[in-house]
Subunit: 204 residues, 2 copies
């Protein structure tokens, strides 16, 4: 056996990274030990610091080192338009389009009764409280266009049917069955422009 126990541990630990199989984990471990030991220590420190100090924004549940995230604190953003997303990765994808000037609410998942994920786990009370307080003019439901994402959007829309908030769902452009984080910026911008209301009109 040519791998030392600590090397084997390191290779195993590197497999926690998404997209890293046994072969690339081995190459990464050897690369760090042979050619970039200071890079390895910097990475270890960065991991520890991030795990210890990056929490979630008290308002929107986005990743944040402060009580409030930079977006919620930015007075140039329109706090009356709230985009509801499944994860911080999706938030980043929307931010990178540069076309959205509202704020966010990050569910950190979607409704999934089988996994015990209900409204509480998604922090929906907090979102509904913002709506009830009259702080929100429009709620853009940008959950993934998957079965679970649609069900989650549907649930939120049902809960808010009687409120005054404008409820919209991003629509055109995002491929059905796909995930927001893999959609290009142009498609996403298009999806935002084509959003439609989920409120039942009175004569419906």
């Amino acid at each position: 056996m040519s791998l030392t126990p600590l090397l084997q541990e390191l290779i195993g630990a590197l497999r926690a990274l998404p997209g890293v199989g046994p072969k690339s984990a081995q190459r990464m471990a050897l690369h760090l030990l042979e050619r970039d030991r200071s890079g390895a220590l910097t990475l270890a420190e960065a991991l520890e610091q991030a795990v210890e100090r990056v929490g979630e924004c008290a308002t929107c549940r986005n990743l944040s080192e402060q009580e409030q995230c930079a977006i919620c604190e930015d007075s140039a953003r329109d706090a009356g338009v709230v985009c509801v997303l499944e994860s911080p990765v999706d938030l980043m994808a929307v931010e990178q389009t540069g076309g959205f000037n509202g704020v966010y609410f990050v569910l950190k998942g979607h409704l999934s009764p089988i996994d015990g994920i209900g409204p509480d786990e998604l922090g929906l009370e907090r979102l509904f409280a913002r709506v009830d307080a009259g702080q929100v003019r429009e709620l853009i439901l940008a959950t993934n266009p998957t079965v679970e994402g649609e069900a989650t959007a549907h649930y939120i829309a049902e809960q808010l049917q009687d409120s005054d908030v404008n409820l919209t769902r991003i629509a055109h452009g995002v491929p059905v069955g796909g995930e927001l984080e893999f959609v290009d910026g142009g498609t996403l911008a298009h999806a935002f422009a084509g959003r439609r209301s989920l409120k039942r009109s009175v004569d419906e």
Copy 2:
């Protein structure tokens, strides 16, 4: 800006990993923070432990946590046949063929005057001392079939022309210009079987 400073540091640090660009570093960082914080801490610890405790074998320069590596300590291996390689990754590739029962000497590089890498940096004194002490029957030069690898093999062969050791070079099968670590096991085994002597015969 939707990334916190610590997240940006973590993403930067992840790029020390070979094959990881800005986009995958971002996905890795978010995955760890959102879904696998204990995996992140395990990875940090594994990195620190490996950097601190994995050194090199005093005999063959392979990565080792002990004074001697497991291969040099294995009495079932033939210490009279020494395979000279550029890196531990190459060693691992040869080990994985399962067809070599000798021991190794890892140069950790190749001769490269332009980068200030000469015989000293490759530990060649240590290798030559083993040959001079009569411990080696055959020295298999398995440096990469690149210009530098060939030059390094040539240099070692020149230095040992007057010794009694059998000097061989792996030959058939390894694609010229390629690197050992990317060659499949069958090709490598073939290359070992087809090795040829580098000693000039008397009547040459």
